[in-house]
């Protein structure tokens, strides 16, 4: 098996690229790290004018934070980022497995600076214009057209935090994306500091609203009633049902443990927090795409045994060397949703361009094509987060980091982790993505592709030849690497030697074939369990009916109505779409009944990919066009992921397959996952975030075995 390495002639070609005049130097995002077993931080979402490269001054929401260890409630000495006027991602959070996370999350957005921002239980409206008989502009409705609440863009001044990749409780103060933190523009962290310290100091993290200090609950009630009695009335009903309330005003305390144990013996957890590259982002249904486009995301690095190995291998000691660990947060920036405008305005004619101001401009840590410097022969660990909305709509996929990035001539790449989970020794040896074994699910050339929400860790070795090298994604240069200075020939782990890569930890060993009895509801349904991603799939439309091309928006069928299992999120009222008993071990078949790609993501527990089936057009013995499946099954260990791309389906004449319906061959991914350690309610969704906002999401619930299925549909949250 070969890891992609440059041929000498390609080195010469790549190194002959012109010097990237004016390219800014690559810098890691600013960071907030844990101390003494606690990640203590303040994260504020606010709004200001930010200078976005190639776009100019744009009024955007942004994340800013600081280390709260020992913070006395006065103005912090150091904020990250220091200057929010220059665009950047949110601060990188760095913790260790086993740490407790204590984050004061504030929303001080001034919603007078944004259209359509009030959480009023309705969709955004957007208009175009035309001239009337007198030459005056009058409005023409553009949005929401056929979109219906809650599966539409709405309420973008509300926010929350999703800690993507964490294995922790989904309820209460944990990785709870079902709360809506409404803005209170004049609130301050100083105001909340005392009560949040009290919350964080409680011997047990509160799991019920009533367990929070009275002064916090009283102030929340006062602030919410000031915003509108209806918000508190909704909360009061939910609290009475034993739920955590939906609406929060201004300030929310995220507090949870990143599970860890020294040994399996005596460990209270069945799975631990996987150390690796994770991330956080705002996750308010109806606003996830816009929040991503505003830049509301940052890396969340959780260190553990994986890092211990790398630091030992490279003789770094307790921390990575200053030139070794590079954090890449890929983002696309846009102040408005695409569907809020007429199609003519996408990027002002520069749609899909990596240098244009419209959708498709890809920034790395807030910079257009920055320059990273490496010494000849040096090795770096690149932690890459795709924090774009993941859309592949505009010009072929600005939201995807394409395989070409990892095929840059002259460099050697060894992938070490996927979605924050280290490779097993077998997979490290085989390099299933870089060596083109694992299909990427998108209409991309073979190789390692990073879809929206995915992360990859890659060891990158620079060539010996000095020069400036262009790293391209989607046909555009997104990074320059200048190889310069004295040679520093660092080794890569030898993939043929087991001692050069750590064994997989006990909690990441392969999941075994599930017992057929261990299935989700309905118990009488087919198994493995099928989850179907579709569009326009309500009963009066054909499942495979593709929307018309968007030549003139508003055409029947466009934009499509995104569904999972033929329904949108909460389309027919409160419903737990997937309910499993705690410790349930199940295979799910994820089917893509559309002709575009989708990315499946489920919170709280990662999964292993058992197979990927990509439909391929072919011709049978009689010369008739038909479809066959190109099937991938792991040669080594099934790879742990928390986002997996579902190959697009094919609409074709079909013969002979019992699983094909209506002349349509769905793309198909089979995953295996176990729902351990944490009961509660959370979500699965498409990580093309515009799809999620517009319906491609489900509620998931894990209940204790002795309450299954009794509690599956009890007291369902009403969180929109």
């Amino acid at each position: 098996m070969q890891v992609r390495t440059a041929l000498p002639i390609l080195v010469l070609y790549a190194a002959s690229m012109h010097a990237q005049t004016g390219s800014p130097p690559f810098v890691n995002p600013g960071e907030i790290a844990s101390h003494d077993g606690k990640l203590q931080a303040v994260i504020v979402v606010s709004d200001t004018d930010r200078v976005v490269p190639n776009v100019g001054k744009v009024h955007l929401r942004f994340f800013q934070g600081w280390d709260a260890k020992g913070w006395d409630g006065t103005q912090p000495a150091v904020k990250v980022p220091a200057n929010p006027a220059a665009f950047s991602p949110g601060p990188t959070l760095r913790a260790k497995a086993g740490d407790k996370v204590e984050i004061m999350f504030l929303n001080t957005t001034d919603d007078a600076n944004f259209p359509n921002t009030v959480a009023a239980g309705k969709c955004d409206q957007a208009f175009g214009t035309k001239k009337d008989a007198n030459g005056n502009l009058v409005n023409v409705p553009i949005y929401p057209l056929a979109d219906q609440y809650p599966n539409c863009f709405h309420a973008s001044s509300t926010a929350n935090l999703h800690f993507h990749g964490t294995h922790t409780t989904p309820d209460a103060l944990g990785d709870n994306v079902l709360i809506e933190v409404m803005p209170v523009k004049d609130t301050t962290p100083q105001k909340w500091n005392a009560v949040f310290k009290k919350i964080f100091a409680m011997p047990t993290i509160p799991t019920k609203w009533q367990e929070l200090p009275g002064e916090y609950r009283d102030e929340q009630e006062r602030l919410l009633k000031a915003k509108g009695q209806q918000y508190w009335d909704t909360n009061a009903k939910q609290i009475a049902l034993g739920q955590f309330p939906q609406y929060i005003a201004g300030a929310f305390p995220n507090a949870f443990i990143l599970p860890n144990c020294a040994t399996q013996d005596g460990c209270q957890y069945k799975a631990l927090q996987s150390p690796g590259t994770h991330w956080y982002h705002a996750h308010k249904h109806g606003s996830t795409a816009l929040h991503s486009l505003n830049g509301l995301a940052g890396a969340f690095i959780i260190e553990g045994t994986y890092d211990d190995f790398l630091k030992t291998f490279y003789h770094f000691g307790a921390t990575y060397g200053p030139d070794f660990e590079k954090v890449f947060v890929f983002q696309e920036i846009n102040p408005e949703q695409n569907l809020h405008r007429n199609i003519i305005n996408f990027g002002a004619g520069k749609a899909g361009s990596a240098t244009g101001p419209g959708p498709g401009q890809v920034l790395v840590n807030g910079l257009v094509a920055p320059t990273l410097t490496m010494r000849p022969g040096a090795v770096q660990l690149w932690r890459i987060v795709n924090a774009t909305p993941g859309s592949a709509f505009n010009g072929g996929g600005g939201g995807i980091i394409s395989p070409s990035f990892f095929q840059t001539a002259g460099f050697t790449f060894e992938q070490t982790a996927k979605d924050g989970v280290q490779f097993s020794q077998k997979n490290f040896s085989d390099q299933p993505f870089i060596s083109n074994q694992f299909p990427n699910g998108y209409n991309q050339p073979a190789g390692l592709m990073v879809a929206g929400g995915n992360r990859v860790d890659v060891l990158v070795k620079a060539p010996a030849a000095k020069g400036t090298y262009a790293f391209a994604s989607q046909g555009a240069t997104v990074l320059w690497v200048k190889v310069d200075g004295d040679p520093n020939d660092m080794p890569l782990p030898d993939r043929t030697k087991a001692s050069d890569w750590p064994a997989i930890p006990w909690y990441l060993t392969n999941l075994q074939q599930p017992p057929t009895a261990d299935r989700p509801l309905p118990l009488s349904g087919p198994y493995p369990h099928y989850v179907s991603f579709s569009w326009d799939a309500e009963s009066n439309r054909a499942v495979a009916a593709a929307p018309a091309a968007p030549a003139g928006k508003g055409t029947a069928g466009f934009p499509p109505k995104w569904t999972i299992d033929n329904r949108q999120f909460a389309e027919f009222g409160p419903l737990i779409d997937q309910c499993m008993p705690l410790n349930g071990l199940q295979d799910w078949v994820l089917e893509n009944h559309t002709t575009v790609m989708h990315s499946f993501h489920i919170h709280i527990n990662p999964f292993q990919v058992v197979s990927v089936e990509t439909p391929v057009q072919t011709t049978d013995a009689q010369g008739v066009p038909t479809v066959t499946y190109k099937t991938y099954t792991p040669a080594g260990d099934p790879i742990w992921q928390d986002v997996v791309s579902l190959p697009a389906g094919l609409a074709m004449p079909l013969t002979g397959s019992p699983t094909l319906t209506q002349g349509f061959a769905p793309g198909r991914v089979t995953i295996r996952h176990q729902f351990v350690d944490f009961t509660g309610t959370f979500v699965l969704h498409c990580h093309i975030l515009g799809h999620e906002d517009r319906g491609m999401m489900q509620l998931v619930r894990i209940v204790p075995l002795d309450r299954f299925p009794t509690d599956c549909q009890a007291a369902i949250p009403h969180h929109h």
Binding site: N54, G128, G135, N345, G349
Partner: protein, 177 residues
């Protein structure tokens, strides 16, 4: 970019602040008055913002491409006599590189759109001077590269901002023949 238009009362009269936006931008209104208003027929309550509006006109009344810049008027549909204006400029964007110039010509437009005046950083290349496109043809506003004894291929960084706050930060390559 979303541009906020304030609705306010000045000397007893309601004023819609004038707005300047780009082709790809949108506007919305913030109502700082004590009464509801409806610019272009879009409701906006006191102390609230409106929905977003993409002001460049479409449809048969104004077939695309709309020649820009141009100013348009709109009315409040609740109160006769209340009106505002929105001026729309082309987006300030770099021309797609590589560009070509054939001698003896020495000038090539490297960016178009936006609103003059521009703040232009030096190209960093002695053979390339960056200047505003002459104002006689404002529809083609932008930035010209003026070349002096250039090599056959030259690459430089174009960094500039326009009067609306738009920015270009882009590598430009020009092939000279």
């Amino acid at each position: 970019m979303a541009t906020r238009i304030n609705i306010r009362r000045e000397g007893g009269a309601v004023v819609f602040d004038p707005a300047e936006v780009t082709f790809s931008g949108v506007v919305f209104w913030f109502n700082a008055d004590s009464e509801p208003h409806a610019p272009m027929g879009i409701d906006v309550q006191p102390n609230q913002t409106s929905s977003s509006v993409q002001p460049v006109p479409t449809g048969s009344a104004a077939p695309l491409p709309v020649p820009l810049p141009e100013s348009f008027s709109y009315q409040c549909t609740l109160h006769a006599g209340e009106s505002g204006t929105i001026s729309i400029y082309n987006d300030f964007v770099p021309n797609l590189s590589p560009l070509a110039v054939t001698k003896p010509a020495t000038t090539v437009q490297v960016a178009t759109g936006g609103k003059p005046p521009y703040v232009i950083a030096p190209s960093g290349e002695p053979s390339v001077a960056l200047v505003e496109t002459p104002q006689s043809a404002i529809a083609d506003a932008g930035i010209n590269a003026v070349l002096t004894d250039p090599p056959a291929t030259i690459t430089f960084r174009l960094s500039a901002t326009d009067a609306l706050g738009g920015a270009v930060d882009s590598d430009v390559t020009i092939n000279v023949s």
